[in-house]
């Protein structure tokens, strides 16, 4: 008989081992799936995890992509993790990401062609405020009317997508673009462009911000009273109130910070790798960041590693698509498996497996 037995307290070892186990199980199950699709599983796994970094033919292109893709994932996931730790479920980071990009780009386009060092900081600020404001909608509705922030924030993603399309077709459309949808390309506007800081690394201001945020979030969670209150609220809301936490204030802080970080991520993306506001500007970073946040155990350092891993599966997945002809859906399934296995093996940090009859420990 196999039984699960509750541990007296969560095992520290397993809290850190479960992500590795989840990655291993994903490789195994993914390999089986690739084999079922008629591909060599070993080659597929190697193409996804190994080739983007070490294959001499592709590495020079895909290595910088690692940071370009990981940057926004980490930035958004850090913000989400703060909320998730407190039991505040912001599922709409994608919408906040879009609104940040629109607001930041709008500032740049309004100032165009002004050449000044204040353009970029103003854009960052506008992006931050755009995401913050969008996240405040579920925040205020939750605190004032007790609506469900999961639903409201998620539905606002689709509203943001409509606004994005309207902006790309209307207000922000490039006047010199011959009527095509999409804004001016900000990469060609030096004061506004978020360019690579060190050639060949993919490092841009968004990546720098993400790294700084990781450090700040670590300090807040372990050493600051705000982080302590977030953790207490997440595990027992009544104890938090007893400790003096005002729940409404904490909800607004968590949603506001995660919205602001998602907005900044959107701004850095539109001013850098994407370059312009287009109808399909958003590429799902806001949703993937949820997986990254959980894969990283809602811990800043874990999120840093999980963001890099997730970026790798994106790049490797693309590579596998054109090298091996794997369908895009198989790659998404592969990424979904990662979250599935992580949540599945999570039980091991709170329970241990016992085989045999119950006895005296």
């Amino acid at each position: 008989m196999i039984r699960l037995e509750r541990r007296p307290q969560p095992s520290r070892l397993w809290v850190w081992c479960t992500p590795l186990l989840a990655v291993a199980l994903t490789m195994l199950a993914g390999g089986l799936m690739f084999a079922a699709l008629g591909k060599d599983p070993i080659e597929a796994i190697r193409t996804i995890f190994f080739d983007p970094l070490f294959n001499p033919q592709f590495a020079s292109y895909s290595r910088p992509q690692l940071l370009v893709k990981a940057g926004p994932l980490i930035l958004i996931a850090i913000g989400l993790a703060l909320g998730f730790r407190a039991g505040v479920w912001n599922i709409g980071a994608e919408g906040q990401y879009i609104m940040g990009a629109i607001c930041g780009a709008a500032v740049a386009l309004a100032l165009y062609p002004l050449d000044s060092p204040i353009v970029f900081p103003a854009m960052v600020l506008a992006g931050l405020l755009g995401g913050f404001a969008w996240a405040m909608i579920p925040g205020v509705l939750r605190t004032a009317f007790n609506t469900n922030e999961i639903l409201v924030s998620l539905l606002l993603v689709y509203v943001a997508e409509q606004i994005l399309a309207a902006m790309a077709l209307g207000l922000l459309r490039n006047p010199d673009g011959g009527g095509f949808p999409g804004s001016r390309n900000l990469q060609q506007y030096p004061s506004a462009a978020n360019l690579e800081l060190i050639a060949g690394t993919g490092m841009h201001w968004g990546v720098v911000t993400a790294f700084i945020t990781v450090i700040l979030a670590y300090i807040v969670l372990t050493r600051h009273v705000l982080g302590f209150h977030i953790r207490v609220t997440g595990s027992s809301p009544r104890a938090a109130r007893f400790a003096g936490v005002v729940p409404a204030r904490l909800i607004l802080i968590c949603l506001g910070v995660s919205g602001a970080l998602a907005g900044m991520a959107g701004l850095y993306e539109v001013a850098g790798p994407a370059g312009q506001i287009t109808i399909d500007f958003n590429s799902g970073y806001g949703f993937t960041a949820i997986i990254v946040a959980f894969l990283g155990r809602l811990h800043p350092v874990g999120i840093l590693l999980a963001g890099l891993l997730m970026a790798l599966t994106y790049i490797g997945g693309e590579l596998a698509q054109f090298m091996l002809g794997l369908p895009a859906a198989a790659i998404q399934l592969f990424q979904g498996m990662l979250l599935f296995f992580l949540l599945g093996v999570d039980v091991l940090s709170n329970y241990r497996i016992r085989i045999g009859r119950p006895g005296v420990a």
């Binding site: 600051h224 027992s236 104890a239 109130r241 003096g244 119950p358």
Partner: protein, 524 residues
């Protein structure tokens, strides 16, 4: 009184029952007999193994080894339904009633083949009359007092004509008058030939009610005795294993008024909560005010209003010259008003956090554990260490999670954490609920010491013996209202019972047995 006839074959013979859980042996080689028509006491501290034992009799838990014989036949119920069929019924300490349904519907839910509603209501009325347990089958359970809810459970059992009735800590939620009614009912049942297994840790009750007693300690039978022959202190010594020192009381000078509550009213925070209605009281320095009453009559709400988790109208909660009514928990702690809520896990402490983190939870502002929001974990750790040392908390160290501690040890930590912050006013709610006798004695002594040092202590408790032991003044909290306060010295249990509202619903009782303490029928 019918004397138990132990020469006959017993109704239930328990032979060498053993049950182990990971890390603990709940019952080890437990054997005793319950005779026909006897009230048999099962006595033991919290954690002695009483609950596990009765769960095995009731078919909720399967023993690892050992046998039972019920009325001459082997008895190994695989589920409670089988036990009920054989004739075993049980009234649990925590009621399993649906508050939104009425009495008859609740009774029907617990029956194998409930009759039609109208018929059932008639049977409920007749049974409740026959045994002096007044109950209106059409009333909603959510509106009943704890004593009335217990009657629903008892009537539900009696409708099945049990041969053995198990009662788990039945008096913990009753007023003294209600206890008297319950005892009458139980004696009547015994006279009709029903056996009762009566679980309790209250010695006086057992001495007045029970014919025989089996005493459990750490899962083993340590004594079998006639409780009417043994003294309460002898029983206590058998139960605990050592002689307990009664709390030493130093009546010092009473100082100035430290906490004043005036006209405190508050809406119920939840659907089945209790609204507080115009409460007023004062506590002086060096004094312990005992607020008695059955839990669920506004005790939790009062604590929330005093801790600042819920704020109330201006001027209702004052400490000397400060009006704290509109202040949150942090400001109140700064002012020296500290609280220890009833629920240890999830309210007073975060279950999955370490003792260090739980020290930070409430001691941060008074013990200077942060500078500009940056936390000083070293200070929290050494404070947790101090609490562990000063209050003899048995734990490997401050890094242990709160949920890994036993109830008594965690309660010592929770109360100690507040006391070591040197409060001017300390409010505790059910400070020794579910705590073993040694820890309870230590906590009571700590409260007395704190008062002796000049603090004002408000002790909300449903344990009347505890209030009589250490409080200076007594007020009753019943239905969200407070009685006038009376000095504890010279207060009788009967008087307290009347302050608590007497026996709920007895004034409408028909056919209730006459008993010594005729209640005046307070607000119910």
């Amino acid at each position: 009184m019918t004397q138990p006839n132990s020469q006959e074959a017993p109704l239930l013979r328990i032979n060498a029952l053993t049950k182990a859980y990971p890390g603990v042996i709940a019952n080890e080689d437990v054997s005793f007999d319950i005779g026909t028509a006897e009230i048999h006491a099962l006595l033991g501290e919290n954690g002695a193994g009483k609950s596990t034992l009765v769960k095995m009799i009731y078919g909720l838990v399967k023993p690892d080894s050992g046998q039972m014989v019920f009325a001459g036949a082997p008895f190994a119920p695989p589920a409670p339904a089988a036990a009920r069929q054989t004739g075993v019924a049980m009234v649990f300490q925590h009621f399993s009633l649906f508050e939104a349904l009425n009495v008859a519907e609740n009774v029907a839910l617990g029956m194998e083949n409930p009759p039609a509603m109208g018929q059932l209501a008639e049977r409920i009325t007749s049974v409740s009359r026959a045994y002096g347990l007044p109950l209106d089958p059409a009333r909603r359970v959510g509106d009943l007092s704890a004593g009335e809810r217990q009657r629903v459970e008892i009537v539900r059992c009696l409708l099945q004509d049990p041969k053995l009735l198990i009662m788990d800590e039945p008096t913990s939620v009753l007023t003294p008058q209600e206890v008297e009614i319950l005892f009458e009912t139980l004696r009547k049942l015994r006279a009709e030939g029903t056996s009762i297994l009566y679980i309790s840790h209250k010695l006086e009750e057992i001495r007045t009610l029970c014919d025989r007693a089996t005493i459990l300690r750490r899962g083993k039978v340590v004594a079998k005795t006639d409780p009417q022959q043994a003294s309460a202190s002898e029983l206590a010594e058998m139960m605990v294993g050592t002689a307990l020192k009664p709390a030493a009381r130093v009546t010092g000078m009473k100082g100035a008024v430290m906490l004043e509550v005036r006209g405190l009213s508050m809406a119920a925070p939840s659907d089945f909560g209790t609204a507080l209605k115009d409460l007023s009281f004062q506590v002086n320095a060096g004094e312990i005010l005992g607020i008695g009453g059955v839990a669920g009559n506004g005790q939790d709400e009062l604590l929330l209003a005093l801790s600042g988790e819920i704020t109330t109208a201006a001027g209702t909660v004052r400490m000397q010259d400060d009006d704290l009514s509109q202040q949150g928990p942090l400001e109140r702690r700064r002012a020296g008003l500290l609280c220890a809520p009833e629920e240890r896990l999830g309210h007073a402490a975060v279950p999955d956090m370490s003792l260090t983190e739980n020290a930070m939870l409430t001691a941060r502002v008074r013990e200077n554990m942060d500078k500009a929001g940056m936390l000083d974990w070293g200070a929290a750790r050494s404070f947790a260490q101090d609490v562990i040392k000063a209050f003899d908390v048995r734990t490997p160290g401050p890094a242990t999670a709160a949920q890994a501690l036993s109830g008594g040890n965690l309660q010592k930590f929770v109360v100690g954490r507040e006391i070591l912050q040197q409060p001017s006013v300390l409010v505790v709610n059910q400070p020794t609920w579910g705590v073993d006798a040694a820890a309870a004695a230590a906590i009571r002594q700590a409260l007395l010491d704190l008062a002796a040092q000049g603090a004002a202590v408000v002790m909300i408790s449903q344990d009347l013996d505890e209030i009589l032991e250490i409080a200076d003044r007594f007020v009753a909290l019943n239905g969200g209202q407070l009685s006038a306060s009376e000095p504890v010295e010279g207060l009788t249990l009967e008087r307290i019972g009347l302050m608590l509202g007497g026996a709920h619903g007895m004034e409408v009782a028909q056919g209730a047995p006459a008993h010594a303490t005729a209640p005046q029928g307070g607000p119910s």
